[in-house]
Amino acid sequence: MSHRTIDLEVMRYRPEQDDEPWVQTYKVPCEEDWVVLDALIYVKDNLDGSLSYRWSCHMAVCGSCGMMINGEPALSCKTFIRDLPGDVIRVEPLTNFPIERDLVVVMDDFIEKLQRVKPYIIRDESKPISEGEHRQTPAQLKKFKQYTLCINCLCCYAACPQYALIPEFIGPAALTLAHRYNQDSRDQGWEEREDVVATNEGIWDCAFADACSIVCPKHVDPASAIQQMKISSTLSWYKNLIGLGGKKR
């Protein structure tokens, strides 16, 4: 197997000793089948044990290793070095987030927003177990299945120009998760979630740049979820206007 030596430029930031982020370059001999994460692991194991980055599954399932690769948000476990041009690769922490250390970002803002949209099934009354499970047809499952594939890697937040401008914006992944439960035939929580998402900080801060859907490594298509929510929220707004709205809160 052929080796290719690359210059891996890594943004470093160690809060106890660095005033601001800086770039450290490592020479990494890469195998043909390596992804960017393999190069980082090589650095950590062989060149510099102090380098910090998140990873777990190495197979685009866990969502831990999202980072900026040559300026684009991507999973480092899914980005093959052979697909990147030139022999210099730049990795940086996801943009739009505070840096915790090196390539590790502070996710608190997203976690708080994720909880706010109530991403779980809400029932007016829960069905007794004796009545059996909530059954769902393949067509009902298809309505939301795509949106369940989100792994919270936050690439969409790094890509979103609106989140960059407006930190209060709930943002693509959290809104998509709200839509995922709204579309679930077992769920009855639309009204509750609407109070959170049909706000200026919710779906209405989205300007439909579509960057979230372009970078999403799982093809979740958050932009489509948000536009669908805009349509249903608009219909409900007009219904409320002419007095046909559902229950008032």
Binding site: P161, L165, E194, D195, V196, A198, T199, N200, E201, G202, W204, A207, A209, K230, I231, S233, T234, W237, Y238
Partner: protein, 114 residues
Amino acid sequence: MARSNKPLVWSLFAAGGTLAALLVPALVVVTLVVAYGYLPAALDYQTMHAFAANWLGKVILFVVIALCLWHAAHRLRTALHGLGLRADKWVAKAGYTVAGLGTVFAIVYLLQIH
């Protein structure tokens, strides 16, 4: 957090955008065809005047003009915000005022065509 009132402007924006996407390419082609001197009978002054004098024609012209104006106002608002202009309130007010005036003028002038 209160629910937003943006559905009002967004629905006009969305409807106008859909309409513009369908109509603008055709309008560009028609305008070019006429500009290059070919005037089909359906586009001469008498026919167009009769179209605007008809009630259905008035409704069609009104919907196209008004929705396109509202679409443009909202598109400019989001575009200017995206370009870094931090005066959303004023941009919104100015844009929607122009669209509102255009809507009113469209009604007034269309009603004057008999």
